[in-house]
Symmetry: C2
Subunit: 302 residues, 2 copies
């Protein structure tokens, strides 16, 4: 096995989040961060991102302690990307108060010579043109997955559709799937999106679970039910981390592996939302992941 089979590009950020259960100020966040903290349970991960000179060294150290290769995280003069937002009791809806792109605004991702041979590539939610740039620097990857958001669907649709031709797995939420496809019904939306290129589409519905679509099958998975959801920030990226992570452990991308991977993704996301920032993912043990996977089976079998 190669040393760093997963390459992830995305944001490494400072998040200020308020939920009905508390708040954090400038905590470690970002899509690449949540993804890598989850995927690292399955395979080594290298992150490509940019932070400002104000980024606390302890955060990079924390990522390294998780086994994440942070050598691709550039430190640029200026301020780190910041997001602040809040959630009401309906934790499925994030309310953004402020997004400061800062050094992210002029980010030009560079893939190191070693990382160019990565087998698995995860393009977290950033400008699809940048996602394309990263992908172009990787030599013949086995599997490419990408995420996006409404902003890019509205403002960079052409670039996104160009990218989707080169992508194996596309992840988005239900509103984004509807917007991208122009179809309200999710089966129709999936057919349209699969026609853009990906062979697998994962529609994330937050607390209502996830639906996997391919040309050959549909898989419906409810979300793991929790008594305490503390902070949903990063749920989608930790889902992607568990999902892609599990795929790296299988020699083939067949239907039953995809189904299991979706449950592993849901397990990682469910742990992530149990606390602010990466707190729960940092403490998490592999045995707990397996335990919750088995519990998922009991919760859903009939």
């Amino acid at each position: 096995m190669k040393k760093n089979p997963i390459l992830a590009v995305g944001s490494v950020a400072l998040d200020t989040v308020k939920t009905p259960f508390g708040r954090v100020n400038e905590a470690l966040g970002g899509s690449a961060t949540y993804f890598s903290a989850s995927a690292r349970f399955f395979s080594p991960v290298s992150v490509i991102a940019v932070v400002g000179s104000d980024f606390p060294g302890k955060h990079l150290e924390a990522m390294r302690l998780l086994g994440v290769d942070t050598s691709g995280i550039e430190v640029q003069k200026g301020k780190t990307f910041r997001w602040s937002g809040f959630y009401d009791f309906d934790l499925n809806t994030a309310h953004t108060l402020r997004t400061e792109l800062n050094v992210f605004q002029h980010f030009r991702p560079k893939v190191s010579p070693e990382a160019r041979s990565s087998r698995y590539v995860f393009l977290a939610n950033i400008d699809p043109e940048l996602q394309f740039t990263v992908l172009n620097q990787v030599h013949d990857p086995w599997l490419v997955a990408c995420d996006t958001m409404n902003f890019w669907i509205e403002n960079k649709r052409k670039a996104l559709q160009k990218l989707l031709k080169k992508v194996d797995i596309f992840l988005c939420n239900d509103a984004e799937a509807r917007e991208l496809s122009g179809e309200y019904n999710l089966i129709r939306a999936s057919k349209r999106i699969l026609s853009f290129g990906p062979r697998l589409l994962l529609i994330k519905k937050g607390e209502h679970g996830v639906i996997c679509f391919s040309k050959d099958f549909i898989f419906l998975a409810p979300a793991y039910l929790l008594e305490k959801v503390f902070d949903p920030t990063g749920a989608g990226d930790s889902f992607a981390g568990g999902f892609i992570g599990y795929l790296t452990r299988s020699p083939r991308l067949n239907e039953s592996v995809v189904r299991q991977a979706a449950i592993y993704g849901s397990v990682l996301a469910s742990y992530n939302v149990e606390s602010f920032s990466l707190n729960r993912l940092v403490d998490l043990k592999r045995v707990e992941i397996e335990r919750r996977y088995r519990h998922f089976r009991r919760l859903t079998r009939f």
Copy 2:
């Protein structure tokens, strides 16, 4: 087996419904109607309800042709209960335009001597005081299930809680569970509601599926995914019909029977929403129910 093991009290109504896909005017509707048209696939059903002298005879005849015992449907001088509403593309949300109680306003349900020995009782969404009246007329039923709505939670909470002490199975949607329990989180809400009396709680989440709660287990079921949802009216009651119907076929109310019943409920609801009024439930064949049940397994297994 007794002749009419299921007794259902609820509304038999004339619905005027508009969806993005069409509209119907004064079509046959009502909670007891949808329930009985689904439950009749499993066991004979007697309906207790009231209609006005304007109620078309063809509708009563249609119910009889389905095998439903309509002898408990009183015809009173006056107008039949009418509901009109519409759905946008988000078919999970019904927008009520008008509710005319008409003869329903002074409804005093009377259970016939034969129906008093019914083994299974379904108290569809009506005034909890009336639900209680019906229940008091039945001799020692094996299983009692009831549904409700936000209006009764807000205006007849005491009567509802008194009723819940006598109920085995309570069905409601997620918003109602939250309102009744005062808890946003559904696990906490379920604990509180189970403490009111029922040994089983089914929280219906529309297109997001259903959750069954008991003291001993939780079962998460996604909704069956459809490419065409035509009219969601009656989905909750046809779910209840499939669910209670299946339970009448099992000698015991154990965990695995409840899980299977929830899937049968979802199957019936999924067929119901494929057309306006009862159209699809009238045509439906038992073999189609079994086919979709098996498909449900393929959609959810991992």
